[in-house]
Symmetry: C2
Subunit: 229 residues, 2 copies
């Protein structure tokens, strides 16, 4: 007997969680609050509130990809019988998507790429934003496109199968499956919109600067003509 969907799914060696859903959510919530608090305390003075929030976003995303999803990649085969804290978190989340317990090919592939590529990339984007690097918008575009595409594929593959791996109760479907994933579509969309404007503005400035320099050269040239001195 297990709480996962579909009910005929065979999950040998399944050991029930001994920490409640509320307890697990509190642990995850506390960790996220710690990251946000530390970022706010240690961020360079002069960094705007929006930029601090963006640093937090990429830091939290990067740490989740590397640590939480990294844990899944290492222990996915024995997750069902484990009762350490990250395993209990995964087993609770899997009530909304049992593909995390059934060695689903797509979930393994997407987690592999997320851990190895998007985890480090998010940390780079956080650092670039914190330092107001010239590369911050390019990194932000890259990371945000990856987030949106990955999250869309994750939701559409489940939809193609009629969400049969998800418990139908609104709490699991809407809070866990939709609610815990939607931020990785909504926030990256806003970030891409902002980066588009910033990049286009910079491209315009670059052209203006180029034209200024060209006309300065013309003026310098005229001053060399004796009649114009």
């Amino acid at each position: 007997m297990h709480p996962y969907s579909p009910s005929h799914l065979l999950l040998p060696n399944y050991v029930r969680n001994n920490v409640s859903a509320l307890g697990l959510c509190s642990v995850m919530g506390s960790l996220i609050i710690t990251v946000v608090g530390s970022t706010w305390m240690f961020a360079r003075t002069g960094l705007s509130t929006t930029d601090k929030a963006i640093v937090c976003w990429f830091l939290i995303s990067g740490l989740l990809h590397l640590l939480f999803e990294g844990y899944f990649l290492v222990y996915h085969a024995t997750l069902l019988s484990r009762i350490d804290l990250p395993a209990q978190l995964w087993k609770e989340y899997a009530i909304s998507d049992s593909r995390y317990l059934s060695e689903d090919t797509f979930v393994l592939a997407i987690e592999r790429i997320t851990v190895f590529l998007w985890g480090p990339l998010c940390l780079l984007a956080a650092a670039a934003t914190a330092k107001s690097s010239y590369n911050r918008h390019a990194l932000q575009m890259l990371g945000s496109t990856a987030h949106i595409y990955g999250c869309l594929l994750y939701i559409v593959t489940s939809w193609e199968e009629g969400h049969r791996h998800s418990r139908p109760e609104p709490y699991y479907f809407w809070l866990y499956f939709v609610g815990f994933n939607a931020p990785w579509i909504v926030i990256p969309s806003i970030l891409i919109y902002r980066s588009f404007a910033q990049i286009a503005g910079a491209m315009k400035s670059a052209q203006e600067l180029e034209e200024n320099k060209a006309s300065a050269l013309v003026i310098a040239d005229i001053s060399l003509v004796p009649e114009c001195r």
Copy 2:
């Protein structure tokens, strides 16, 4: 009897192709050459050779996504029994990946997103490059990240299953499965590298222009002080 892998795959209503592989490749090749030729002829004078090549790349990608992959989305359920040209192209390609004939969830999901999002986006990127728009690098980053991620996922999901949907002959595995997909990892990587440099350069120029304007203001201010006139 069918040529697809694994051999025990049930493919009812399968109708064998009546055009040879060489014939099908020639058709696809001619279409691509037509697109490249037209782009080269009708491109704005002053557009560099590299930019013309980038326009071709996004135009070909966008047309493949919208028309060829769009055809798959519409007819995937009856592909096996069809003998029109695009169906024969898909049935030939599927020898290297039978997931295109078996209603595979992942393939359907990724094609759905490719047709609806990345097709139009590639055409936008082609137009932006052709017009040297300020948005061209942002669009190029978006489209190229999507291509790399999609292609990586496509290859890694197949790898997770031991490439059991692909015929093991080098011709099918290396030419069709790897060869026909690798360009969407290699070329986008180069484009992202180029856009990174362009965007960072523009960001630097924007800051320089900002500083120039600020110092011009200071000079203007000093000239207002009577003693400095």
